[in-house]
């Protein structure tokens, strides 16, 4: 069975926020909820400074702390390594929000929050509520576009190679800074990149073994 992961090339990322917006569009994420984020910072001191873009998302950790602490069994790890939430089972205790060392989970509190306060929900927001019914009172996070991957696999497509089976953020990236694929396959693009360009994970010291790697070479 595959274990899906992502590689993000920090040298290529230009901080255009395409991934952030593509994710919001794909999942009709309500106002104030982000599954993909972009951290822009700088290192060094004037005049020798370097700007850095760090796209961050759920790391779909192999040893996910959120899966272990979830008391209701709502957060589970699929065989393909994706950490997903069953909104029908989530009790909204927020233990997973606290336990995630990468702070990538959000409690979806207000289902009535509008993109344009006081003007009611837009047509697009209403469609989103039907197509992607997130439940207020539960915790939400990136799911590696599991529905796209599953649908693509059913059609015999290959995640990371065929666009229809690949996460929206990867497809949307205009500079091809994101790669998606099977970490367990040594010949996959992601495995090769990690090996050749010395991919690293965020905070490996937590022992969570994130499936999102970064490369800077």
């Amino acid at each position: 069975m595959a274990r899906y992961g992502m590689v993000i090339d920090l040298l290529r990322c230009i901080g255009c926020y395409s991934c952030v917006i593509a994710c919001k569009q794909e999942h009709f994420l309500p106002s104030g909820i982000f599954w993909n984020r972009l951290v822009i910072g700088e290192t060094g001191k004037y005049p020798v400074v370097a700007k850095q873009m760090y796209p961050v998302l759920c790391n779909h950790c192999k040893e996910a702390a959120c899966v272990k602490v979830c008391p209701s069994g709502a957060t589970t790890k699929r065989e393909d390594g994706m950490v997903v939430i069953d909104y029908d089972k989530c009790v909204g205790c927020r233990y997973c929000v606290i336990a995630c060392p990468y702070q990538q989970r959000t409690f979806y509190a207000d289902g009535k929050r509008e993109y344009f306060p006081g003007q009611g929900l837009t047509e697009l927001e209403l469609i989103g509520k039907e197509l992607y019914p997130l439940q207020p009172g539960t915790v939400v996070k990136c799911n590696f576009c599991a529905e796209r991957v599953d649908e693509g696999l059913k059609r015999g497509l290959k995640p990371g190679v065929d666009r229809e089976a690949t996460p929206a953020c990867v497809n949307a990236c205009p500079v091809k800074a994101r790669y998606f694929g099977d970490l367990d396959d040594p010949r996959s693009e992601v495995s090769v990149l990690i090996k050749e360009k010395r991919g690293f994970q965020l905070h490996p010291e937590f022992g969570t073994e994130p499936s999102v790697y970064y490369i800077t070479q």
């Binding site: 951290v39 760090y54 602490v69 709502a74 990468y102 965020l202």
Partner: protein, 292 residues
Amino acid sequence: MKPYEWMVRYTAQSEWIERRGVLMWLAEVASGLGAGLYLISLFFNNLWGMLVGWLIVIALKGGFHLAYLGKPLRFWRIALKPGTSWMSRGFIFMVLFIGFGAIQMAFSYWLPGTGLEVTFKVLTGITVFLLAVYTGFVMNYVNGIPFWNSALLPLLFVLGGVLDGCGLIIAIGLFGGDVDIMAAEAVSRVLLVSTAVVIGIYLWSATYMGAAAKQSVVELVRGHIAPILWVGVVFFGIIVPVVISVSSYFTGEASSGLLLFGIACETIGAFSLKYCILKAGIYSPLISVNIY
């Protein structure tokens, strides 16, 4: 704060202390108070104390937790993952405690001294101890917040809970309950000193648990949480009760008013301690860059 400043700086957890998170804080305090009172009441064999402790756990701890949940009607689902989740285990301990406690109090009232009463006292004692200790493990398990990731936290929560329970049992004694106040005061003295020492060691050891934990201690000792630590925990929670306790030790007996004042101060200390620990929970920065 800029939108993602939290990812490049030390960020305090907010889910369990701010906005509705205040309910979690209150539930944690009620957990310590209720379980501690029940434990100490078992020690002094005081039925009123047991009843009050039991009610605190059901009504306050249970109520606050339920009110905090995003989907309160699904609360029963919390019991489904005891294999890996301390929250799940805690829920089961609480249910067992409520059940065993009710049966034990019934036996203590109608059939005192029987084998059944003793059996259920042991069972209730075990479950209430687990109830007192589990909140420490819930927090201790969180790797991302190094300040909480300490083995001393469960110990501190148990000691603090029993100390507060001791204060409440003295109050029950002052209001006519059958309590040996002198003995309770003696236990309280030992617990006060022990709790103060454990708080000190906990804070001191946290400074060696990495930069984020050290930052938590800095926030507590001289940051924006410092007034609550120094006034709430140290002054009201430790110094005032110690002074009252020591004076009553030398004078033989403290007045009821002074004891009640001391108990009120201890309770303020209990609220403050949990607040400080929850508020000082700080995550390590996600990436190490300067703010743009």
